[in-house]
């Protein structure tokens, strides 16, 4: 085939094999059209061009050489409009936005438009068409799981991570093992976290975090934050704070810490992260009701931002000079802060109401250098542990506390002391009890319980010589699990109301503990993050009876799914408590039925397993018996049978007589 046989099209395609066709710029994005230009005769064209050049270079940037074209009529007068070609598209855009309606003189106001816009408006459809309304897609009910029949019976969900798996399971007491609701591999790149009310499960990815939820565990929202490492939900799950380490963050558009609106997924504000050595997480502290977030403004005060505008309250920081530490009440818009004293001024703890800035209480303490705030979870009490300068070497050092009764009029304050340094401190949730672990040596610690009485705080019970270091109150109060965490793993289940130990157990090398939100179960687990043998988890009843245990290779994480905040008031709770018998009967009956049903099911399952196994075994045995001649031929005889001949030899040793003879020398 010669070259002449091929037609043009073929030639072009052949050419394209060697080089791609030249891409011509056919758009007019760099052009603008100017209207209302003065009509000028030929003699004045150069002058008009120079004026236009001056104006349009000043705002729009460089114009291509001879880029100004005046449009002329037959008499070589200008027609009253002109074209300008910029070197860059941005120049044309700037000129349109800055020079439209520019007053050249009293009679001429320039109209500047992009040449492309003309095309667009010429093709504009004059007919009105109603915009299409997107069909409403309802978001799944985040709390649907609470209406699951298992949740109604009081069972809870939890998430476990091991190997590449992330499993969401139900804890059904009667089954004795976790019931997997959903199992995923590679769901997250680092870890997972529940939101505070349990509505969402957060997973981490290189480009941000994703919230999962609803019955089907679908993606509800994603928050794009490259390199995200930590998240923090507001107490009521309305807002989310994410953190990603950013080098040389831009102060005008900070990207280290971002506050998001959880429901619509919008970014509310970015913040710069503090320097690495001062970084703590959570970076911001939440007030109650999701109203404010705050962080310290060096030691000059506190920056308080109001949600959702994320603007500083009163447009400035709350000035507290020499501020050491502060804490929000978990239920009220109250802030407690501590200012250490100097040589002449005593230290002070102040309770401040916001946004009114009314001082609710003040307590002066001498020689205190630091303070730690411990709020009771209903905000009724605040216990502040104060550290004092040790002047004399007393025989027994003591730790001092200040107790604020925040919900009583005038906020009475009371002081008390206990011997030794404290190791752990915890308020009973929804209660009046305090548990403190204190002592000298970690193998012989004391556990002391206090109760806030009507007038005075009183010590109720004490455990001595215990190898314990951490306190875990049941979320419903009364019961407590004391543990020797990250060590040998001693566990002590204790009833604080009666002051008696329910049981002592052990989970070797236990690294973490999580109470089920109902307070019926508690989990102790060993995570691969800290220990690399025998990782897994044990589930116990509140009284310390083992329910079941799971060992997993590369086990990382266990978290119960939180339940939303209690809707009942303490009064309503008490009514239920007095009618407890009635409820108990109902639930016992339900449990009984369920256990009977699951027992019957289990029996059927086991019978099925046994039948299947036996079918294999008996078929195999029948074949074995059928091959007896073949084995005979091989000379193999496995079972003991008549072919075995025993020769039994009995050795009889009879002692006939023992003669005792005495010799005399």
């Amino acid at each position: 085939m010669s070259l002449y046989d091929s037609d043009d099209e073929e030639l072009v395609t052949r050419l394209e094999d060697f080089e791609p066709p030249v891409q011509l710029d056919t758009s007019f994005a760099r052009f603008i059209v100017i209207d209302n230009v003065p009509v000028a005769p030929e003699s004045k064209h150069e002058k008009l061009k120079s004026i236009l050049h001056k104006i349009f270079v000043s705002k729009g940037g460089e114009i291509v050489p001879n880029g100004i074209t005046l449009v002329l009529d037959a008499n070589k007068n200008t027609k009253g409009f002109a074209f300008i070609e910029y070197t860059k598209k941005e120049g044309a855009n700037d000129a349109v936005s800055l020079l439209n309606n520019y007053k050249l003189d009293a009679k001429h106001t320039l109209q500047v438009n992009l040449l492309d816009d003309f095309k667009k408006f010429l093709n504009f459809n004059e007919q009105y068409s109603a915009p299409k309304v997107e069909e409403f897609v309802s978001k799944p009910n985040y709390n649907e799981w609470l209406s699951d029949k298992r949740a109604l019976k009081g069972y809870d969900q939890f998430v476990v991570r091991y190997g590449d798996y992330t499993d969401i399971c139900w804890n059904e007491m009667s089954v004795g093992k976790p019931i997997v609701e959903k199992s995923n591999t590679a769901m997250t790149t680092s870890y997972v976290q529940w939101s505070n009310t349990g509505s969402y499960l957060v997973t981490f990815h290189p480009d941000g975090v994703v919230l999962y939820g609803g019955k089907q565990w679908i993606k509800l929202n994603n928050f794009d934050h490259r390199g995200v490492q930590l998240v923090d939900f507001s107490p009521e799950d309305k807002y989310l704070i994410t953190f990603a380490p950013v080098l040389n963050d831009n102060p005008k558009d900070p990207k280290s810490i971002i506050v998001w609106d959880v429901r619509n997924g919008k970014k509310l504000r970015g913040f710069l992260a503090p320097p690495k050595d001062q970084f703590t997480w959570p970076a911001f502290r939440w007030s109650a009701k999701d109203r404010f977030i705050s962080r310290t403004h060096e030691d000059k005060g506190i920056n308080i931002y109001e949600t959702p505008s994320m603007k500083l309250l009163d447009n400035t920081y709350l000035a507290i000079s020499n501020l050491k530490d502060y804490s929000w009440s978990p239920t009220d818009l109250t802030l407690a802060y501590f200012v250490p004293g100097s040589s002449h001024i005593p230290s002070k703890i102040t309770l401040l109401e916001l946004p009114s800035k009314k001082v609710l209480a003040e307590k002066v303490i001498f020689e205190a250098i630091d303070a730690r705030f411990h709020w009771q979870n209903e905000g009724s009490y605040l216990c502040v542990k104060t550290d004092k300068i040790v002047k004399t070497k007393k025989t027994i050092p003591t730790t001092a506390f200040e107790l604020f009764r925040t919900h009583e009029p005038n906020v009475p304050v009371e002081s008390f002391e206990i011997p030794y340094q404290i190791k752990a401190f915890a308020w009973e949730p929804r209660g009046k009890r305090i548990c403190i672990i204190h002592g000298e040596h970690k193998i012989a610690m004391n556990v002391t319980f206090f109760e806030v009485g009507k007038h005075k705080i009183e010590q109720t019970s004490k455990l001595e010589n215990r190898k314990l270091n951490t306190i875990f109150w049941s979320p419903r109060g009364t019961f407590i699990l004391l543990a020797n965490l990250n060590d040998t793993g001693e566990l002590e289940f204790y009833n604080a109301a009666d002051g008696e130990t329910l049981s002592t157990q052990e989970h070797l090398q236990c690294t973490g503990i999580d109470w089920n939100p109902s307070g019926r179960f508690v989990t102790t687990f060993v995570s691969q993050w800290k220990v690399n043998t025998d990782t897994g988890y044990n589930i116990w009843s509140f009284a310390g009876e083992p329910i079941y245990s799971v060992l997993r290779d590369r086990f990382y994480q266990f978290n119960w799914r939180p339940r939303p905040k209690f809707m009942l008031s303490t009064k309503e709770m008490n009514i239920i408590k007095t009618n407890y018998k009635k409820y108990q009967e109902k639930f016992d009956e339900m449990d009984g039925l369920e256990i009977a049903e699951s027992n019957a099911q289990e029996e059927r399952r086991l019978q099925g397993l046994m039948d299947e196994f036996l079918s294999y075994l008996q078929r195999g045995e029948a074949e074995y018996q059928a091959t007896a001649p073949e084995r005979e031929r091989l000379g193999a005889y496995e079972d003991i049978d008549k072919r075995d001949e025993y020769q039994s030899v009995e050795i009889v040793e009879d002692i006939i007589d023992i003669v005792t003879t005495s010799y005399r020398r």
Partner: protein, 329 residues
């Protein structure tokens, strides 16, 4: 139940083995000794001194001959009664596994993959009159260390377990690889037969033991202990298996462990639940063996201790016996 502790060996036990009647217990250890004991009393009868670490052994069905495979690349045939070494076969590398076939006409020997040699399964002819061994043939190497090999039903196949977690089945007649399957993520340490070789159980370092039907190779059950499994004992009488293992010796010293690691655990072979466990060893358990009547089992551990457990009467009332033949027939 009070176990009888046999303290003789100073180095890890590699295998415990009962003879066919179950009245004699052979113990092989890394201290280059094989010892012989009375099962009922734990009284020692004698020892066989090998030249190297004894990895495996087997006894003929009439308890006349003992064959040992040791790290000095030797397979030896012993007269059980007199303790005389009748015959020695030299290999190039350490011998890992050894077993008589059914009928004692042949033995298989597994040699290690070291020093440029490939792991091999050898078959040798055995003369029952004189105790002489003659090399017959060798299977093609799987290019991976073989941890254990055993004869299948009627000597038709040889089942071997590999360090790569694979089970390889060799056809004896065709002298070639018949089938391979990989269902473990880590090394398979041992293949253990149920009575009459109807099923077999694989033990793996990944913490699982898996039960298969021999004829169909159907996977019937997985037992997950969460700890490396070195060995298993299968009761011929009751629906029970015993699994033994624990952290390997080198990682024991670097991690915090307690003796509960080295418990031997009883599992129900059908339901798969843990029935109980037995403390006793302070190191990983390397070998477990049931007597053929299922009334006694022996365990051997890393610390050199062997225990004979004569099961109590209460154990035999605890579960029903396995029904090998349906009652209505």
């Amino acid at each position: 139940m009070r176990p009888i502790s046999l303290r003789l060996h100073e180095r890890p036990i590699t295998q415990v083995l009962f003879n066919r009647e179950g009245d004699l217990l052979f113990v092989a250890a890394k201290d280059k000794l094989v010892s012989l004991w009375y099962t009922s009393t734990g009284e020692r009868i004698g020892t066989y001194t090998c030249g190297g670490v004894v990895y495996a052994m087997d006894v003929s069905q009439n308890s006349q001959y003992l064959v040992t495979a040791s790290a000095d690349a030797k397979v030896k045939v012993w007269d059980v009664q007199t303790g005389i070494c009748l015959h020695t076969v030299n290999f190039e590398v350490a011998c890992r596994s050894i077993e008589f076939n059914q009928g004692d006409s042949q033995i298989l020997v597994v040699t290690d993959q070291v020093m440029g040699c490939q792991a091999l399964v050898h078959v040798l002819d055995f003369d029952q009159a004189t105790g002489k061994l003659t090399t017959n043939y060798t299977f093609q190497s799987p290019n991976c260390k073989i941890t254990h090999a055993t004869w299948g039903p009627l000597n038709k196949y040889i089942f071997s377990s590999g360090e790569d977690g694979a089970i390889r089945i060799y056809d004896v007649e065709k002298r070639s690889l018949h089938h391979t399957f990989v269902e473990n993520t880590k090394q398979v340490t041992r293949i253990e037969w149920t009575k009459h070789r109807i099923m077999f159980l694989t033990c793996s370092k990944d913490g699982t033991a898996k039960l298969y039907d021999t004829k169909t190779l159907k996977h019937l059950k997985t037992f997950d202990t969460g700890r490396p499994i070195n060995t298993a004992g299968i009761s011929p009488l009751k629906p029970h298996i015993i699994l033994g293992g624990g952290q390997s010796a080198e990682s024991v010293t670097t991690t915090k462990v307690d003796a509960s690691q080295f418990k031997v655990r009883f599992y129900h072979i059908v339901y798969g639940d843990e029935l109980g466990s037995l403390i006793g060893h302070i190191g990983p358990v390397h070998s477990i063996c049931f007597t053929p009547d299922g009334k006694t089992f022996a365990t051997g551990g890393e610390e050199g201790l062997v225990q004979i457990n004569h099961l109590d009467e209460s154990y035999f009332q605890f579960d029903e016996d396995l029904v090998y033949t349906p009652k209505h027939e």
